[in-house]
């Protein structure tokens, strides 16, 4: 079966709930492109995700009622077993967020570093929220994440959309 048309499907779903103005998904005619400058085995990999990670038995990094929900980061050497996702927007009927590596592949990336497939993993990974405001994502969240990746001297970035 072909892939799900989420744009059409969510438009119908929310229209049926009484939302008359459909969400306008971001669209651009041009796509930027930066060629890889060195072999992957020499690259430091940065990791960015929308999976709203938190550390067990500690307060959530961003309170649930925070309207701005700015990006934040956690250390990449946090044991995966201590991490969990606070994300509620996923297909909770069909899958689970109980295995972190199915959406934030920290263990898999550590393995690839150990094997020499990639040079190293950045010391922290970044969380970006799926915002209502594309303007905020573009003018606040994305520049902040870029500054962290630059501070960590990242060569390439892996982004997981959850």
């Amino acid at each position: 079966m072909s892939h799900v048309r989420y744009i059409d499907k969510t438009r119908e779903y929310y229209r049926a709930q009484g939302y008359t103005t459909p969400y306008r998904w971001a669209h651009f005619d041009d796509i930027p492109f930066t060629p890889l400058a060195r072999p992957l085995a020499e690259c430091r990999v940065g990791l960015v995700t929308t999976s709203e990670m938190a550390i067990r038995d500690t307060p959530p990094p961003v309170p649930d009622d925070d309207p701005l929900r700015d990006p934040y980061w956690l250390p990449s050497d946090t044991p995966v077993g201590r991490l969990y996702s606070r994300k509620t927007a996923y297909d909770r009927f069909a899958t689970t967020l109980d295995d972190v590596d199915a959406y934030l592949p920290l263990t898999r990336l550590h393995e690839l570093v150990a094997e020499g497939r990639i040079g190293s993993l950045a010391p922290r990974f970044a969380m970006a929220f799926s915002q209502y405001s594309q303007r905020k994502t573009l003018t606040v969240d994305a520049p902040r994440i870029l500054s962290w990746l630059r501070e960590d001297r990242v060569d390439v970035a892996v982004l997981t959309a959850v």
């Binding site: 079966m1 892939h3 799900v4 048309r5 989420y6 744009i7 059409d8 499907k9 779903y13 998904w25 669209h27 651009f28 005619d29 796509i31 930027p32 930066t34 060629p35 890889l36 400058a37 992957l40 960015v48 995700t49 649930d64 009622d65 309207p67 701005l68 509620t88 996923y90 297909d91 909770r92 009927f93 069909a94 899958t95 689970t96 967020l97 295995d99 590596d101 199915a102 592949p105 898999r108 990336l109 690839l112 497939r117 970006a128 799926s130 209502y132 405001s133 994502t137 969240d141 994305a142 994440i145 990746l149 990242v154 390439v156 970035a157 892996v158 982004l159 997981t160 959309a161 959850v162």
Partner: protein, 121 residues
């Protein structure tokens, strides 16, 4: 996520996006996209299947080097066990958010409008 990828790429960092919503990511346009045709929430493979996850992550990393042009999509060669989820997601039978999450979403949406109106966002 696509917007962040574009921003990083515009500023000199090659990116690869792992995701399950092919139409949304391609509508936005990202440099490199490893598409996993799985339910939302599992963009790097099936939960608890480390072998599959390893293969998918490696394919995405390879794309960093092999993508010939911006807007390159590679589909991971795996199928979910059954595909009834494709018809059932975003239906009355399977509401995307539960009631509590929906309430929080609406509260935050209004709170964001308020801070924006106050000029602090």
């Amino acid at each position: 996520m696509s917007l962040v990828a574009r921003h990083l790429e515009e500023h000199g960092i090659p990116t690869v996006v792992f995701g399950c919503a092919r139409d949304i990511v391609e509508h936005c346009g990202v440099p490199r996209f490893l598409f996993c045709d799985f339910p939302l929430g599992s963009p790097c493979g099936k939960p608890f299947d480390a072998v599959m996850q390893r293969d998918i992550v490696a394919r995405g990393l390879d794309l960093l080097a092999s993508a010939p042009a911006p807007g390159t999509t590679v589909r991971a060669p795996y199928e979910w066990d059954e595909d009834t989820w494709k018809e059932k997601c975003f239906t009355e039978e399977r509401p995307f958010l539960d009631e509590e999450a929906t309430a929080r979403w609406l509260e935050r949406k209004q709170a964001y409008r308020d801070v924006k109106a106050a000029g602090t966002a």
